[in-house]
Symmetry: C2
Subunit: 420 residues, 2 copies
Amino acid sequence: MARKNAFYAQSGGVTAVINASACGVIETAREHRKQIGKVYAGRNGIIGALREDLIDTSKESKAAIRGLLTTPAGAFGSCRHKLKSLEENRAEYERLIEVFRAHDIGYFFYNGGGDSADTCLKVSQLSESMGYPIQAIHVPKTIDNDLPLTDNCPGFGSVAKYIAISTREAALDVASMCETSTKVFILEVMGRHAGWIAAAAGLAVEQEGDAPHIILFPEVAFNREKFLARVKRTVKKYGFCVIVASEGTQYKDGTFLTDSGVVDAFGHQQLGGLAPSLAEMVKSELGYKYHWAVADYLQRSARHIASQTDLDQAYAVGRAAVEFAVAGKNAVMPAIVRGKGKRYSWSIGEAPLSEVANREKKMPRGYITRDGFGITEAGREYLAPLVSGEAYPEYRNGLPRYTRLKLAGVPRKLKTRFAV
Amino acid sequence: MARKNAFYAQSGGVTAVINASACGVIETAREHRKQIGKVYAGRNGIIGALREDLIDTSKESKAAIRGLLTTPAGAFGSCRHKLKSLEENRAEYERLIEVFRAHDIGYFFYNGGGDSADTCLKVSQLSESMGYPIQAIHVPKTIDNDLPLTDNCPGFGSVAKYIAISTREAALDVASMCETSTKVFILEVMGRHAGWIAAAAGLAVEQEGDAPHIILFPEVAFNREKFLARVKRTVKKYGFCVIVASEGTQYKDGTFLTDSGVVDAFGHQQLGGLAPSLAEMVKSELGYKYHWAVADYLQRSARHIASQTDLDQAYAVGRAAVEFAVAGKNAVMPAIVRGKGKRYSWSIGEAPLSEVANREKKMPRGYITRDGFGITEAGREYLAPLVSGEAYPEYRNGLPRYTRLKLAGVPRKLKTRFAV
């Protein structure tokens, strides 16, 4: 097998551990110098390839690459850009091939979620459709935990841990204040179509009465009367009520409780402002004093309290992707496989990309309690191991020390420019 | 000196380390059994005294009390209840004396901020004004860092650390996404009248271009045009802009940028919703895609990443309060005194309560840059040591293990009830 360079890109919303996958890819590629030359990262994801804006990771020191393990967000830049079908936008594919050929790229590692898996699948088909030999391996990543064929998605465990911890902590605050002040606290969390992140807040419950008292899932149609009645009952019983609401909470007809009207490149609506809406509802109907928080990017970048399990898995899928590539595979994704035993264990399996792309894994209804406001024991058993272990970063002067890469550009070889 | 019981109460908004002060008070009182009998905690602060609803801390195990060191929020419950003057509400003072006498209470430890220092001062004067012998010691606590005569306030260092870390982390997220998506990120933080917490975000800056690019302080009149121009310039220069906004950000005439209309027991307005307002301003005027977060209670309960310096100081003021009491002092507050040396050091001093109550320490203008959007080197020097060190709690199953107290009530001795 001739030695080829590799292309690596981060795609879509970033996570606390996506750089750990990058670390896994780069470190493992460096161990296979016979097959893999250099790893070029796309500056800002796939558009870096389209623009021929590549980062030469071989210019980064071993320590800097290792530092990716403890650095949140996308060190090479990410993007929200979905390749259209070959029929719709042949120019983009031709450009990719042009760039790949110019830089002798034979491996394509794409680190993203469901939409990105679709892009990766399309790239994997370039060999056949356009006669350019390339092996495309998808490296799973999404805080939404909605990729199929993998037990869970790297990035989810850390946001789950952050939300569970924050819920427990804020609940202690509300409990302290509720006698004369705040009685209702609402934490809005990410999760557009699936309530995985909101569900993770349920891990904060250890015994009867513990917060969160109400979880709102996108999977359960929001019923205003039922919700308000539960808030009232909870405040009467415990003195306060903690609500964790998924941003995708929606009415029976599918309309979101709040809708900012902004649509992203994938056609998804940008949500936000659910917490203040719910707070107003509680205030006007029940009169309780409230506080609300919207964690937003804080939740998915919280590397300071990342899950060790999540970190290990993020690294492992990066490593496995390269191992798959050198084994000659194409159009696959390393998947996390949960062991059968009572004690949690996991290993890396292999999933065909054609079965991953554009398919969303919903949360099983059996993970949500019958009343729709909490998680079941089955849900807890699934979630608990994913938040296990604390992967603390190194600190300097009281703040986490995150790696800074050189991000040196690869000299351009093409004369043509491509507008993205 | 006859042995007397002690009363301890938590007051006002809680913090990540107020329980460490409780731990300091209780553990130190247990070392002085000759002078101090039992420590009774007010259930939900001072109203626990008014209602004769006392918690017997002697029923708590040594381990449970030690667990307070790592448990955020107010384990005994707090309240927002300010005693009026003796002239305005003599009944409340008479009731306090009745309860103190019934339970043989001779020491009053009040753990709170500026308003609470005023309450503590009033109680300290009961000996003279109403002929009941009591020693009242104030134990400083406030995330607002606005108490005078102490270099800083326990509770502030931890929220400062949380905000600085969260800003750094979220900024990496925005930097990853800005090429095709979010360009402006706004984090709303607490701080009604003083910008101490917002200022702490400035610690995230290590080199030119680092976030936060704009800090909004209550001390600096908000100028819409200047703000928007700075956002635009920052996005043009760095590709993205991170803004940390104090909830108390206000126009020149003193009106807050947003005002929920709700007023708390101390007459303060309940603020909130600044971040979405600023985001809308940015979107409508500059067209940038935004994200925003409101940390709210998450910031002040974030014990999982508390500052070790803050924790040590919170414990120390609790310990010192008891030592002051057994030394016969009254109407004083342990204060944190910063050492003169180049290397940060601190010790505990003594501040007269009459000079603490109802006085707010403003942030020196010299800590804010001339353009009003950042912190100076002097500000950084003041803030940096306060966030130093990571005081991690113990974890169990991936979540912090926080102490649960028995909170056993002290049998009532009075027949009269008192409505609060």
